[in-house]
């Protein structure tokens, strides 16, 4: 007797739930030091509840944490920053801030896991710059639903959202990053709403999709943005909320 394996897997309906951002607006702004502080002002330890949650097991996912720190310069100067992951320097930088202007450091930690300590240190070359806002959120990138089969037919991104949505302070969005879907590790046209694909073949480098900020751009890096009216001034990403697909067995890997 021969036992046949169906050519198609069952339908997979992957739902992804994202935790709300953690935000804090200090009642009393704190003055930034003029040299790097020994203890960063902003720190978050990644908890399981912070991570995007899936309604089924997935073969691979990479988590990207975004940490925001914001404040205001009274005198024109420069704000310096350092990102640390588990005490190790990941990236450093600086940005110019005009007088009486808000600044926001957008810091992206690529590939974080539960227990990781993510820190952001801020200092200034002038003595009257303050900080008063911090936030933290985690998104998912480079997801591979199943190790085998990798050919998905169809692969429907049936719901696409965007975020994080920050509400404290006087927030504004500076840039919006599209969802980047990949077939054979080749990037398809950018996605900003639900989109159906007849075929997706998932390869190891980029998986099914990448987010823009924190992966395609600014992975383990940061950017400082300024505004006379808004803080935080931040980037958001489009990301999948639901993917409906099924795998095709018996295909030789391209």
């Amino acid at each position: 007797m021969v036992r046949l394996t169906p050519a198609l897997t069952s339908w997979k309906i992957l739902n992804i739930a994202y935790a709300a951002p953690q935000e804090t607006l200090l009642a009393v702004p704190e003055t930034l030091p003029t040299a790097e502080p020994s203890v960063p002002q902003i720190g978050y330890t990644v908890a399981a509840a912070d991570l995007p949650a899936f309604n089924m097991g997935v073969y691979r996912r990479i988590f990207v944490a975004m940490v925001f720190g914001a404040g205001k310069a009274t005198t024109a100067g420069r704000v310096y920053w350092r990102m640390k992951k588990n005490g190790v320097s990941v990236a450093t930088g600086s940005g110019t801030v005009a007088a009486n202007t808000f600044f926001t450091v957008n810091a992206y930690f690529y590939n974080v896991n539960v227990g990781d300590l993510l820190e952001l240190a801020l200092w200034s070359n002038v003595a009257d710059t303050v900080w008063d806002y911090k936030a933290y959120n985690v998104q998912v990138s480079r997801l591979i639903l199943m190790n085998k089969p990798r050919l998905l037919q169809p692969c429907n991104f049936t719901s696409v959202g965007s975020g994080p949505v920050l509400v404290l302070g006087s927030p504004s969005v500076y840039g919006v990053g599209s969802l980047r879907v990949y077939h054979l590790d080749e990037e398809l046209p950018f996605v900003t709403s639900a989109k159906n694909y007849e075929i997706i073949y998932t390869k190891d480098a980029y998986g099914m999709f990448r987010i823009t900020y924190g992966d395609a751009s600014n992975a383990n890096s940061g950017a400082l943005r300024t505004s006379t009216t808004s803080r935080p001034l931040y980037y958001i990403n489009y990301f999948p909320l639901q993917i409906v697909t099924r795998g095709v067995r018996g295909i030789i890997e391209p």
């Binding site: 040299a35 790097e36 420069r78 310096y80 320097s89 990941v90 990236a91 450093t92 930088g93 600086s94 940005g95 110019t96 200092w123 070359n125 840039g175 919006v176 990053g177 599209s178 950018f190 823009t212 395609a216 751009s217 383990n220 890096s221 940061g222 950017a223 400082l224």
Partner: protein, 84 residues
């Protein structure tokens, strides 16, 4: 617009060394808005804020030389990423 260069050096900097780099970059490239550097990869990203992309494209080799970089890696305009 951001230009990412490989400077060929993976070195963590303290705040004084960052200040030296900051001054050197701003002296060489007065239009610079900000920068970031990764000691893990040796990548230096020059942040020009909102500038004309054609002006930027024409000056990539000049900025590469001024930053003493060994290779141009990426140019980012809004969410578009061009990689070399």
């Amino acid at each position: 617009m951001k230009l990412t260069l490989d400077v060929g050096i993976k070195k963590d900097m303290d705040d004084k060394e960052m200040d030296v780099l900051d001054r050197a970059l701003r002296r060489a490239i007065p239009v610079l808005f900000g920068w970031s550097y990764s000691p893990l990869t040796g990548e230096l990203t020059l942040d020009f804020g909102d500038v004309d992309e054609n002006v930027m494209l024409a000056r990539i080799e000049d900025y590469k030389a001024k930053a003493k970089a060994v290779k141009v890696l990426r140019l980012e305009f809004m969410e578009m990423v061009k990689e070399w």
